[in-house]
Symmetry: C2
Subunit: 307 residues, 2 copies
Amino acid sequence: MSLLVVGTVAFDAIETPFGKTDKIVGGAASYIALAASYFNRDIHLVSVIGDDFPADFLNTLKKEGVNLDGLQIKAGEKSFFWSGKYHNDLNTRDTLDTQLNVLANFDPIVPEGAKECEFLMLGNLVPAVQQSVINQMNKRPKLIVLDTMNFWMDIAMDDLKKTIAMVDVLTINDSEARQLSGEYSLVKAAQKILQMGPTTLIIKKGEHGALLFNKEEVFFAPALPLEDVYDPTGAGDSFAGGFIGYLAKTKDISFENMKRAIIFGSAMASFTVERFGTERLIGLTQENVEKRVQEFVDLVQFDIAVF
Amino acid sequence: MSLLVVGTVAFDAIETPFGKTDKIVGGAASYIALAASYFNRDIHLVSVIGDDFPADFLNTLKKEGVNLDGLQIKAGEKSFFWSGKYHNDLNTRDTLDTQLNVLANFDPIVPEGAKECEFLMLGNLVPAVQQSVINQMNKRPKLIVLDTMNFWMDIAMDDLKKTIAMVDVLTINDSEARQLSGEYSLVKAAQKILQMGPTTLIIKKGEHGALLFNKEEVFFAPALPLEDVYDPTGAGDSFAGGFIGYLAKTKDISFENMKRAIIFGSAMASFTVERFGTERLIGLTQENVEKRVQEFVDLVQFDIAVF
């Protein structure tokens, strides 16, 4: 089924204990679209860039089945740029530079061909911009997934809560779940957040995996223990892209199928962190992905018949 | 099969965000023995207490199948005492007071009846004391599990490494695995530690679950997301007790069976943290435990047949 992805397409400059990049392609929507494209080739992108963006990457997106009609290219302007340095634990980072550029006045326009999409993935952006996209759809999508972050909780909580009330699935990390709910226990936090509108909540815990909640059930997907994590940037977006890409492919939004989707999302994130930027997500083969998913199965599979 | 448990039987005074206790019964061996006794009633305890210890608790241990012939009771001396205060996240704590008392000169004596035990659980203690117990056994046990902590890495690393080289399974937490190996990646840390002697390594990650490694395989057991954690004290020891208790009961030390054992260990830990001290471990029914283990199965079980 068709999938609309909204979010940033941007430049990053990243420093980790393993190395340093110059300006490379990043942005939430880049990771989401590439991860989803492994599962689904009917993807529309809504975003904005300057005229400084490499045609190569746009061609890669097109080749992977991503329709760029909704990608605004602003002549004479620069693309969004973020620069950050990760600490040794790779779980925390300092932002070194943020240049909003084209993002400062981003007014998303959903092209006619994308207004009927059945799946909508709202990558991290100003909550009002995310809302505007929902309002432009011709009919309510079958599933809306929203990703956001603590930054919007700090400066635009009211707007954010309105947007959260409009979606089906919210994905945030553990500290954001605590901030949004005011509860330290993630179980209690989930119960409170599920009162705010979404029927499903995903709490991302980075190297500690992810929790999937609805009002009655909970599922835990581990992260794969990796020898080396080169660059965590985009892990959460790749996770979201794999999650919604798998759901859009299988057209099944039951909790049981979301469990599978979250494993595929985790697999996509595990690829992303093995290289800088989006590199590892491009050209993944079925064998790559099946082998990786089998590692997740082996990691948590046990047989408790001997009781 | 028979199990020998070595470790502290002591007093704790604990403060958590949920409350505060006066002096209550604690100690690694208390938690280990109680958790193991759910599975196995052929348990010997080697430890030391003063004459200030409540007979009630000793009777409880006996009732649960724990033989106390190896428990030294020092007349006119006081039992080991620890007092600590947990921070709001319950993952970190400050030690408020430590009184070694009887532990200062503890010379463990394994009674004749315990020298043939096939399973040996060495709870956290001075590494030289742990070694002394191994050396007193008539024959090498089928399985020796060692628990230790960063404190011994700081002040007795050489002794600790000698002890580690003598055991089959080492259980430590993630930061201790990093300290012992000098590697940040837990996968690399595990590989290095498995060169030090043990065939199996368990890395405990508290609320984030536990990893089980041998040289070829890895298994991840989640922690159960709980609404309230009242008191994390003894969680790691209950985990170890459940783990070795299940192995001693089933007499199977294969990696496959260790996966089951780690789930039962995690279940025991999940009970312990629901109350202060050892309270919740006493009198667990089969129904309690089976229901809890089923929650672990439900938490991580997924069916990836739809590929």
